[in-house]
Point group: C2
Chain length 232, copies 2
DNA sequence: CCCCCTATTTGCGCCGGCGCAAAGACACGA
DNA sequence: TCGTGTCTTTGCGCCGGCGCAAATAGGGGG
């Protein structure tokens, strides 16, 4: 288990720490259990009884909901510094979604009891949690509206931009999505099919907006993409 | 302003009051301002600065998000006993949705300052709020999945059933949706068009599953509808 | 009780996007 | 370096659902 996690970077990405003095954080962390996940491992499944909350330290989680017919909707990606499953654990409910590591990852885990103790010691935690949940509610409501009202190509554009903002890294070519993202993944996130995403990316590549290869997408002209996403 | 609101009914419908002794509730209520709304009045608009939280006492609110092109997505209906806008007010943000009275309504309003005071006095409020928000997050995530994966007719069935469970009233004919619900409304809630809803209801009426007229829907065979919603 | 405004129904034609199928490209392991 | 499995591309045909248009039905106000 290596220790060169950049905590200050993690702090800045997470609403979790708002209002804490930095010297309290090691205390909170010390009650968590640090664990490594191989790529592809499922941390928890929709419908399982919720026992642990997670904060991602390294890597990335894919949070999705599964439909009976096998199709899946990707609800969000969880980046380093972000939490997942905190509330279902507190409430003693089942997980409403499934979380899977994409790429080698590390997370800090807290069990229900520890969480409740921490919340007693630091009431601020409940307030911060409320903020995080509301933010996610806004996000999914907005995407719900888009899914109802916009055409596929526009939605793919918005999806790609959203992922880019959360997980993009600047390179000489443009902004690179910093993890393996297949056409199928982008389709599951957008609410369309593998084929349509593929055709769309081909078109965009011809226009010079993106460059894509196997499980890899670079946005070379974010401006054009934003403008297209907004005007249709 | 009449006073024959059935508070015990309101308590039972709302997660808001979980864990309170009943004798504290009059205190909380006394800090709210009670107000009457005519049918069609807009309580707040998406993007406005959030100044007031509401609890519906009578009537019903329609909560929706608007798209630039004029189309709207109905996010949910707020029934008596339920809250809306509590968190945006606390966070000092803008309203993320629009709320409009459908039918003559009454609500209890609290402003930001009062809310913050109440939360200090009764910390339980924050915890209950968290529960409410999470419930809504689950709801919208589930509908998001359905919107991505299911065909229109199935989604209309699920939508109607969801509305029925929240706002249905048993009658001799079957279960009546207890407020004016047009084909357009159901379309905006489901993510389809007025035309498709109309055709679908006609079909269902022939099968004996529903009886509908102008802005009025009665589910006469809930079983059949549920079975259809689940199996497609 | 009648009028007018709004909601609903339904025929018709179109088309965006789906999904099969087959070929091509790439990545990794032996 | 080659082979194999997975991901991607693209031609092709189909069809679910949209949306116009016109007729019809209600219902609330005067």
């Amino acid at each position: 288990m290596n220790n060169q996690i950049d905590f200050s970077d993690i702090f800045s990405r997470s609403g979790w720490f708002v209002g804490f003095e930095e010297d309290k954080l090691p205390d909170i962390f010390s009650f968590g259990h640090r664990r490594v996940y191989e790529s592809g491992v499922t941390l928890f499944r929709e419908g399982d009884h919720a026992t642990k909350s997670y904060m991602v330290l390294k890597g990335r989680l894919k949070v999705s909901k599964l439909h009976e017919d096998g199709r899946e909707a990707i609800v969000r990606y969880i980046n380093p510094g972000e939490m997942t499953a905190a509330v279902s654990v507190l409430k003693g409910k089942d997980y409403p979604v499934t979380a899977q590591a994409i790429g080698p990852s590390e997370a800090l885990e807290w069990d229900r009891e520890t969480m409740l103790n921490l919340m007693n010691t630091y009431p601020r935690i409940a307030i911060n949690l409320l903020g995080i949940v509301v933010e996610r509610l806004d996000d999914i409501q907005t995407r719900y509206l888009e899914l109802q009202t916009e055409r596929v190509e526009q939605r793919i554009a918005r999806s790609l931009l959203r992922i880019m903002r959360q997980s993009g890294r600047k390179t000489s070519e443009g902004i690179l999505i910093d993890f393996r993202l297949s056409r199928q993944d982008l389709a599951d996130y957008t609410g369309t099919t593998l084929y349509t995403v593929s055709r769309t990316l081909s078109r965009w590549e011809q226009k010079g907006w993106t460059v894509s290869s196997r499980e890899r997408i670079v946005v070379t002209n974010p401006h054009a993409l934003v403008s297209f996403a907004e005007t249709g």
